[in-house]
């Protein structure tokens, strides 16, 4: 009962909202027509923006009321126009003094060229029709009630119709959600485009941070170990000159050289630790994090549940993220205890760092967290923070595909039973229609052999014989074909699913 009431209550505002789309459609179509017919091109982007605002609302409502999460379907926005070295901004073959015009050009081309804009328009145009359908139950109820008031006998019939319409409402809503997803959901193309966009972004950031890292190492080596080695060399030169004339002074200098070499080693150790901690390459992520925990002034509890070692670059990214998070907990969180949990969720390497500090960590402010995100971006990693004021702070780092070849329990890896059944059936029985009852029968018929033996078609009336023979041959070919093609198709799907984001293959 409750279910129908909720469905009807949701259908009413959705339907009314959809009816107002008539106005929006008229306005937007008018704007588009004007922008092309009269060259008032500046009207196009506002029109497209209005559409996008409306469909954004529709997506939100779909998520909340229809239980269908619909992601945005637009292509990634154009990158900002870059200033050239000569101070001009370029668009195609024209130069501009300010970035305004090229940027505006890019924007409208982006909106115009995006198929999602036109699908938005189609959705808005057709939405009032579906909205009216959503209002049917309410209208039926209202009509039935009003006729009953007037005492007309038709009220009974109308009442039955209202009941039927109300009963259908949940299905109506489900259809509406499906319809929304069809037109407003992301297509494989837009998913791929935004995926490539984010990959490019990650690629650039990785290259950037790598270059910065190398510069830092170069500087540290140049100012540190290298300089000290020069000093040692000079000291040894002086020792060489002094060793016969003034052995005491030479001995003192040698002591100095030894000290300098010791300092150089200490510096190199620090540097190496910053590049790739030795314990990480020696023992792997688990023990490296345990070593980190031992060196921390906080009470750190580490639990590691990994069946295999991730690839070294992933390990390194995870290690430095944890290190940074631990430093944050000491520096800002005011924490006493920290729990670090490393585990695998299927192919995903998941790290959870929890502390009992004061909370309030904000990735927008902390450059440390931003640095972690950048480090993780190279591996498609995601950083999630829950840090309410007063704590506790829980940071989760997910590195998908970090344990790429580990998980055999994946459902796509194994063919489902029914596919195996078809393959077995095809190979096992495909010969029967193809050879004895197909090709051999055909030969028998062509040479007009007397003995009908067990070729059943020859017992049947003459006119159906040839069609049946052809049908049998075709059936055999189809059975064999299915048996061969189904495993091939399956492994290709699996391979594609592994190589591309999973959601794409749901939207194909």
């Amino acid at each position: 009962m409750r279910r129908y009431a909720v469905a009807t209550a949701r259908a009413l505002p959705l339907g009314l909202l959809a009816l107002t789309d008539v106005v929006l459609t008229v306005v937007v179509v008018l704007m588009i027509v004007l922008s092309f017919a009269l060259g008032l091109i500046f009207l196009f982007p506002p029109g497209a923006r209005m559409l996008r605002r409306r469909t954004a609302l529709a997506r939100r409502l779909s998520d909340r009321w229809l239980g269908r999460e619909i992601g945005p379907s637009y292509l990634p926005p154009p990158p900002p126009v870059r200033r050239q070295p000569d101070g001009w901004y370029r668009h195609d073959r024209q130069l501009y003094k300010t970035p305004r015009v090229p940027e505006w050009n890019n924007r409208w081309k982006w909106m115009f060229g995006d198929p999602a804009t036109w699908r938005d328009l189609l959705w808005v145009t057709l939405n009032p029709l579906l909205g009216a359908a959503l209002l049917l139950p309410v209208i039926a109820i209202g009509y039935a009630v009003s006729t009953a008031r007037q005492g007309q006998p038709v009220a009974l019939l109308l009442g039955l119709m209202a009941v039927a319409a109300t009963a259908a409402t949940p299905w109506l809503l489900r259809f509406y959600g499906w319809w929304n997803e069809m037109l407003l959901g992301p297509t494989a193309k837009s998913l791929l485009a935004s995926r490539i966009h984010s990959l490019n972004q990650a690629h650039l950031e990785t290259a950037d941070s790598q270059a910065a890292e190398l510069r830092r190492i170069e500087r540290d080596l140049h100012d540190g170990a290298q300089a000290r080695l020069v000093a040692i060399g000079m000291t040894l030169g002086a020792v060489e000159a002094l060793v016969e004339t003034d052995p005491t002074a030479a001995k003192a200098l040698l002591g100095k050289a030894r000290e300098a070499s010791s300092t150089a080693l200490t510096e190199l150790r620090g540097l190496v630790r910053g590049i790739h901690p030795p314990v990480l390459s020696e023992r792997g992520l688990g023990d490296a994090v345990r070593a980190l925990a031992l060196d921390s002034p906080l009470e750190v509890k580490v639990t590691v549940d990994l069946k295999t070692r991730p690839e070294p670059p992933v390990e390194s990214a995870a290690y430095f993220s944890i290190s940074e998070l631990l430093t944050n907990a000491v520096r800002h969180g005011g924490a006493d205890r920290v729990w670090i949990d490393i585990s695998n969720q299927g192919k995903t390497l998941r790290v959870t760092v929890t502390d009992d500090g004061s909370g309030g960590a904000d990735p927008a402010r902390g450059s440390g967290l931003r640095g972690i995100e950048r480090r993780l971006a190279a591996f498609d990693g995601v950083l999630a923070i829950s840090s309410p004021p007063g704590g506790p702070t829980i940071v989760t780092v997910d590195l998908p595909h970090a344990l790429a070849w580990e998980d055999d329990s994946d459902k796509t890896a194994q063919m489902p039973k029914w596919k195996w059944a078809i393959v077995g059936f095809g190979y096992g029985l495909g010969w029967l229609p193809l050879f004895p009852q197909g090709i051999v029968t055909a030969i028998m018929k062509i040479i007009e052999h007397e003995n009908k033996s067990w070729f059943y078609i020859l017992y049947l009336p003459e006119p159906v014989q040839w069609p049946l023979i052809i049908f049998n041959i075709a059936l055999g070919i189809v059975m064999y074909g299915a048996a061969v093609l189904i495993p091939i198709q399956h492994s290709r799907e699996r391979w594609m699913a592994e190589a591309t984001p999973r959601r794409l293959w749901l939207h194909r």
Binding site: S262, T266, R269, P278, V279, S281, E282, L294, D295, E299
Partner: protein, 219 residues
């Protein structure tokens, strides 16, 4: 009879240097090897009086040396091993000390520069004592500084504890800190009382007691 030593180090120059250094100080080097499996074999067949082992050895260049040393000590409990490394980790120190039978050293490779101190450490380990790198101790103390009751120690007592944890005797500590031996004795007694440990003269037991305490404080 001179003490028999086994050396494991993959860098040729350093290996030869260690061999010469130990020979010059009266050790008999029975084997100088360069990989983990060789080391394990040398340790179990030769049963040396002391082994000087580099953590990172071929073939995997991970912690082969450490693993071989730990495996050998499982087979021959109390086999004296001095582990050398380019870096020190509390984790490894704990693993080495975990069996509680002593005769363990864990030093940075830099310590070889100071021949006297290094040979002293080798002798201490050979005699069943311990030699922990000051850096390990510093890390231990830094990471446990916030925990009670270590915080109750006076600065002087902390200094004494650090040297004690390195494996030094009261005499050595008194020389290092320019104190009388009785004053050091008083400090150690103070430390033991504050940490709730029974006092003992045995160097090895002292270090183990300290490290066990530090271990316990964390878990």
């Amino acid at each position: 009879m001179s003490a028999r030593a086994v050396i494991a180090e993959d860098l040729y120059l350093l290996r030869e240097g260690l061999v010469h250094l130990l020979q010059a100080h009266g050790f008999e080097v029975v084997a100088a090897v360069e990989s983990g499996p060789e080391l394990l074999k040398a340790l179990t067949t030769e049963r040396p009086d002391v082994a000087v082992v580099d953590v990172r050895l071929p073939p995997t260049f991970t912690d082969e040396g450490l693993q071989a040393a730990l495996a050998a000590r499982r087979a021959i409990p109390g086999l004296p091993v001095l582990v050398l490394s380019q870096h020190v980790e509390q984790l490894y120190a704990r693993e080495l000390l975990a069996d509680g039978s002593g005769a363990i050293g864990y030093l940075l490779k830099d310590r070889v520069f100071n021949a006297e101190q290094f040979v002293d450490a080798v002798r201490r380990v050979a005699a069943g004592g311990t030699a922990m790198d000051p850096e390990v101790i510093a890390k231990l103390l830094a990471s446990t500084a916030r925990h009670e009751p270590l915080g109750e120690l006076t600065p002087r007592e902390r200094e004494v504890l650090e040297l004690m944890a390195e494996g030094r005797s009261n005499t050595a500590i008194s020389q290092r800190l320019f104190l009388s031996e009785s004053a050091v004795g008083k400090h150690t007694a103070g430390i033991f009382t504050k940490l709730g440990l029974a006092p003992s003269d045995d160097d090895n037991r002292r270090v183990l007691a300290v490290l066990t305490y530090l271990n316990a404080a964390r878990s």
